[in-house]
């Protein structure tokens, strides 16, 4: 088709994974360019000068940054399975929860998983409140998107997969079957989706990475080099 689709990303990043899942859902072929976040390439600095973060989608040479912005772009540009719902109100709801996950949940869950002592107690309390809201939003649906995964499921990939990996390394109990049975089940269903499974980084890569982080506590502040 003469179409050129490239993704500048980092395979361990949940933000990157969101875009890869979306492209896979739409059946889009793309070239993946792994970025070394400790040594940012001229390519990244050229295509995301504002934030200098991954993921960056390049479509026929035009760059798009910010994973939520990219997801909407992918949904609108390519046919195939819908990422956002059809009805305006449901679209607004999906956007609201996606933003909620990005603005509130990501840093709160990260802190709950990594902090210690009294600080962790407080962080887990905050995480509990946020996860409860998501558990309520899920209701009895298989996915946030209904029968199939949608925007919110994709944006919640960190919750479904990364949190479990961090918990394994730190021993934190943030998202457990006992506390959030529906969310726990949703996470299991999500990571077992064939499309998702193919795009998730291997579990042992993640745990290996997080074990290294455990040894270097000053790198633990939530400061994602990714969006």
């Amino acid at each position: 088709m003469g179409e050129e689709v490239k993704l500048i990303g980092a395979r361990g990043s949940p933000f990157n994974c969101r875009v890869e899942i979306a492209l896979k859902l739409k059946g889009v072929e793309y070239e993946f360019i792994e970025e070394d976040l400790a040594n940012k390439s001229p390519l990244l600095l050229k295509y995301n000068p504002v934030h200098k973060k991954i993921p960056v989608l390049l479509h026929n040479g035009k760059p798009i940054a910010e994973s939520l912005v990219i997801l909407e772009y992918v949904d609108q540009t390519w046919e195939g399975a819908s990422i956002l719902p059809q009805h305006p109100y449901e679209r607004a709801m999906a956007r609201f929860w996606a933003k909620f996950i990005d603005d509130k949940c990501m840093s709160a869950l990260w802190n709950a998983c990594w902090s210690k002592g009294k600080e962790q107690e407080k962080a887990i309390e905050e995480a509990n409140e946020l996860l409860k809201l998501l558990e309520n939003e899920l209701k009895d649906k298989k996915f946030f998107g209904g029968d199939n995964i949608g925007l919110v499921d994709i944006v919640a990939d960190f919750i479904a997969y990364w949190v479990g990996a961090i918990q394994e390394v730190t021993g934190a109990e943030v998202l457990t079957k006992e506390k959030f049975p529906k969310l726990f089940e949703w996470a299991r269903e999500f990571i077992n989706c064939s499309i998702v499974k193919e795009k998730l980084p291997p579990r042992d890569h993640l745990t290996g990475f997080f074990r290294i982080k455990l040894e270097a506590p000053d790198t633990l502040k939530y400061n994602p080099q990714v969006r």
């Binding site: 910010e66 912005v69 540009t77 305006p88 679209r91 607004a92």
Partner: protein
């Protein structure tokens, strides 16, 4: 549709509320505005927005939509006249990117620069961040009348607070984030936007705003000093 329920719950000094209101007026949508005292939150607010407990809250035929930028997209999808978002996917991506950028970088840095009454160093840092952000936005205007092109669009509404609130922040904070030499395109856009026939008739009173933000900056400054 006469039987349609369209309500907007907002706060008189909030730029986020005005984004939504401007969009409704531009599209000729009839709506009811309900003022909320955000310092004395009503049970209604807590019921309609339990997650954030904030305004604006948009209600359309019983359905509640939250978050001003999400509301703008909803309004544009329901009322199709005078479209606010472009059709082209790449252009839509660009305006969403810049709206988020301004909300994440410019709003808070400008606001907290204004509120940094005690700490000159923090104030200077925030002013620098704000001006760097504004410089990026200046580049985005690229000789157009509005960010939306010939007419006001989503990004003009998202950035509209710059034309009216930011000068108040500058005044209250004794700052000059809006430098006409550095940002000629933005200053020119500010005049065009604030004088637009719809916008100029839907703005909060400036003198009240100055007093309000003076009080807010004193309170916030004291809180920040205490938390050090």
């Amino acid at each position: 549709m006469a039987s349609e329920e369209v309500k907007l719950i907002g706060f008189w000094a909030s730029p986020y509320r005005f984004r939504v209101e401007w969009a409704l007026i531009l599209k000729g949508v009839e709506y009811e505005y309900i003022e909320e005292d955000i310092f004395n939150k009503s049970p209604r607010l807590l019921e309609l927005n339990p997650v954030y407990k904030k305004i604006p809250i948009f209600i359309h035929n019983g359905k509640v939509v939250l978050e001003s930028l999400v509301i703008l997209e909803y309004i544009d999808e329901i009322w199709k006249n005078n479209p606010l978002l472009p059709q082209d996917p790449y252009e839509r991506a660009m305006i969403r990117f810049w709206a988020k950028f301004a909300d994440d970088k410019l709003v808070l840095s400008a606001y907290f620069a204004m509120c940094s009454l005690e700490d000159e160093k923090v104030k200077a840092e925030k002013i620098t961040i704000a001006m760097e952000a504004l410089e990026r936005i200046e580049g985005e205007l690229k000789g157009k009348s509005f960010f939306g092109g010939e007419s006001i669009g989503y990004l003009d509404l998202a950035l509209g607070w710059i034309s009216y609130w930011l000068p108040v922040f500058d005044e209250v904070g004794s700052m000059k984030i809006i430098d006409p030499i550095k940002f000629p395109a933005i200053v020119s856009w500010m005049n065009r936007f604030a004088n637009h026939k719809v916008i100029k008739n839907k703005l909060p009173p400036r003198d009240k705003m100055v007093i309000y933000f003076q009080e807010r900056s004193k309170i916030i400054s004291a809180t920040l000093a205490k938390n050090k």
